[in-house]
């Protein structure tokens, strides 16, 4: 039985194909459309999933959609009525897309040739299912938190066998995700996109504004909370902090303005309040469910700093977070809920690899290289490729690593990655100068093999699975921090990716080989993209990215493409990013 899962129309559209309970393919629309956080109907992602599953839309039996559009639309209308007449501009701006596309999902699928049934699930039920139903647990407590779905913004639930139930919730406009987003906007970053920057900025600050931050939100001992909506205006305007918020904290930072200590302290205060709410809610959830296992989903579950503390601050023993924990993951949740819970099928799949996107064979890569007249070298074996890659890394080279199927979720996990040596502090500057051009305060992530984690990180034991998907931040051992300055954040932590050999053999061997030469079995792993664009998808995307930045070489499949051999295709990605306001 084939089920197509779809999530779209808010941010990070995606599609997935589940066949007889196995996850065949999953991808975000942004990777194909090349629009970051694309929220459009995921036509390209659907096409890819169908192609990967060697099927057509006409043969799909069920489409599972990750939320109930009419329920969400009802909430919007109530919002407009409740905040009349302040909601006029929001009404005029947000109504047309609802009437022309968002309520017409059946029609859009019909036009594509779909003839089966469509199931619409509640947004947070999709989140809960996206975590629990693909987790390694038979039963678990479930916590979901994000900006907003239909009405719910935060939920508590429980999963057992093939069923998922939500039993408590907090409704809009009271939202942890939107609180985080409002402060993100206040700090001059993009909402629904740059919340992770605030998380990266926090360790530079002190929680000086904690008390003021607590004026915005009343957190009860059971982790439930209510926002004082006088400080926000997202319930009636397209912006987030209100006048009263600005009176309380001071001037809102505009994008591009310098970041000063005040902004860092605000970020830290917010992180502290967020963690307080999360840990209180999780302790309460443990108390009422008695579960030792925890599944989390929703945008808030991407807060890897908080994730790294959960097992220490709550009685839960094991934790699971699916890599695409935010809205993109809703497609998986919807599809699995239909397969397991609605249709009553036994669970037969545990999420074990994020390699669910398009992959390209050597023949396909070579065809592109020849077609575009790109100079390249072909390796005779994997060993030769590893030797060349390690050689470049040892010379402080920055390499593009394009291998296997594209990753599912927001992180590059060694299939579409930029890799570099972490042993010198200047590597941060080299990467920022050559490739990423990002804010100085944002740390670069380390990747390490599972056997070496304990010697470098103060990680939880046994190692939680989310660490395989770069979802946990842990302290780097003090004695090791100087060995890996390029990936050590200002507070001595690192948002690591742990890798097992059976997950990605070539990548694992590369890290081990680098470790043999340097004594440091760690690499810098950052996403393979230019500023303002999504992670690369195709070999040509990867080549284009290399030629628009300062990446020295690209290892695509069994091929080495050097930047210096193809200088005729050089271009400046920075100019483009600046022109588009990224």
């Amino acid at each position: 039985m084939d089920i197509l899962g779809i999530a779209c129309y808010y941010h990070d559209s995606s599609a997935c194909l589940v066949r007889d309970g196995k996850l065949i393919a999953a991808a975000q629309e942004e990777r194909f459309s090349r629009k970051k956080h694309d929220s459009d109907f995921p036509k390209n992602a659907i096409e890819y999933c169908l192609k990967e599953g060697k099927t057509t839309i006409g043969k799909i039996e069920v489409v599972a959609f990750y939320e109930k559009p009419f329920l969400k639309f009802e909430r919007l209308l109530y919002q407009f009525v409740e905040t009349f007449p302040k909601s006029y501009f929001a009404f005029a701006k947000s109504l047309p897309p609802w009437l022309t596309e968002r309520l017409l999902i059946k029609a859009v699928l019909g036009e594509m040739g779909f003839k089966g049934k469509i199931c619409f699930l509640e947004h947070h039920l999709s989140h809960a299912a996206s975590s629990f139903l693909v987790s390694p647990f038979k039963s678990a407590a479930i916590f979901t938190a994000d900006g907003v779905g239909e009405w719910a913004t935060t939920t508590l639930g429980k999963g057992y066998g093939n069923d998922v139930k939500i039993f408590k919730e907090i409704n809009f406009p009271h939202s942890l995700g939107l609180l985080y987003s409002a402060v993100t906007a206040f700090l001059g970053f993009r909402v629904n996109s740059s919340e992770y920057k605030v998380m990266g900025l926090a360790p530079y600050g002190k929680p000086k504004y904690y008390d003021k931050m607590k004026k915005l939100v009343d957190i009860r001992p059971d982790g439930s909370f209510a926002l004082d909506m006088d400080y926000f205006c997202y319930h009636y305007r397209m912006s987030m902090p209100s006048k009263k918020f600005i009176e309380l904290f001071g001037k809102q930072r505009k994008s591009g303005e310098p970041i000063i200590q005040f902004h860092k302290d605000i970020a830290m205060s917010l992180q502290k309040v967020t963690e307080e709410a999360i840990f209180s809610a999780l302790n309460y959830l443990h108390r009422i469910t008695g579960e030792e296992n925890l599944c989390m989903a929703g945008g808030v579950a991407l807060n890897s700093v908080a994730n790294g503390k959960i097992l220490k601050k709550t009685p839960f023993k094991r934790i699971w977070i699916q890599p695409a924990a935010s809205d993109a993951g809703g497609s998986i949740g919807a599809a699995y809920y239909v397969y397991n819970s609605t249709l009553g099928n036994r669970r037969n799949f545990v999420f074990d690899s994020a390699s669910l996107g398009p992959g390209f064979s050597d023949a396909e890569i070579e065809r592109v290289l020849k077609e575009k007249k790109i100079a390249y070298t072909k390796f005779g074996s994997g060993k030769e490729l590893l030797k060349a890659a390690v050689g470049m890394l040892l010379k402080d080279g920055v390499i593009g690593w394009f291998q296997g199927r594209m990753e599912w979720g927001p992180r590059a996990l060694g299939n579409r990655s930029i890799l570099a040596s972490p042993t010198k502090s200047k590597m941060k500057d080299i990467l920022n100068l050559k490739v990423k051009h990002r804010e100085y305060f944002r740390p670069f992530a380390p990747v390490i093999c599972d056997s070496d984690v304990d010697s470098f990180f103060e990680a939880d034991k046994p190692l939680p699975e989310p660490a395989y998907y770069m979802l946990m931040v842990w302290p780097i051992k003090k004695s090791r921090q100087k060995m890996v300055p390029a990936v050590t954040h200002v507070d001595g932590s690192g948002r690591l990716q742990v890798i097992r050999r059976n997950q990605n053999q070539l990548y694992y061997d590369l890290i081990k080989e680098f470790g043999k030469k340097t004594g440091v079995p760690i690499l810098v792993n950052t996403s393979y993209n230019i500023r303002g664009e999504p992670i690369v998808c195709t070999p040509f995307d990867a080549y284009k990215c290399m030629m628009g930045t300062g990446i020295d070489a690209l290892f695509a499949g069994n091929f080495l493409i050097k930047r210096k051999d193809n200088l005729r295709d050089e271009w400046d990605s920075e100019k483009k990013a600046e022109a588009s306001g990224n």
Partner: protein, 145 residues
């Protein structure tokens, strides 16, 4: 070209602006006649028809015909300008419709709901020991599974 990015010709901007403002001029002219020349529609129905046809001709037909004939950046720009004009008109019409809907529809519901004391959303939450809301369909937790 390696990166499939079509270069914008020198005359593109000129063509776009020319087409956009010509159409705006025609449109404004016709609007002026209708609004300020009383009885214009009745008395000068042929004049109106000609003006209307001219708008359509300049707006829709001419740029496309020019693009087919010339295939250069000027015609590309003119077509783009005409599209932008059409989009702006459609946005303006939508805004008028939405404004009426908002004030007469949403506004009316707002007034009635206030008179009836009905609230659709708990914007100002009262201080409570817990803000968790029980999901109705779930029942008691211990009976859930």
């Amino acid at each position: 070209m390696l990166f499939d990015e079509k270069p914008v010709g020198k005359l593109f901007g000129f063509g776009k602006a020319f087409s956009f403002y010509t159409m705006l001029g025609f449109f404004a002219g016709v609007l002026y006649l209708i609004v300020f020349q009383q009885g214009f529609l009745q008395k000068n129905i042929w004049n109106f028809a000609i003006a209307f046809a001219a708008v359509i001709l300049v707006n829709a037909v001419f740029p496309r015909a020019l693009k087919m004939l010339l295939k250069n950046s000027l015609s590309d720009g003119m077509l783009e300008g005409s599209k932008e004009f059409a989009e702006r008109v459609s946005v303006a019409v939508s805004w008028v419709t939405l404004t009426l809907t908002y004030f007469f529809g949403v506004g009316l519901v707002f007034v009635l709901s206030r008179l009836a004391g009905k609230r659709f959303m708990e914007i100002k939450a009262k201080k409570k020991p817990s803000y968790w809301i029980d999901k109705k369909e779930s029942g008691k937790i211990e009976e859930m599974f």
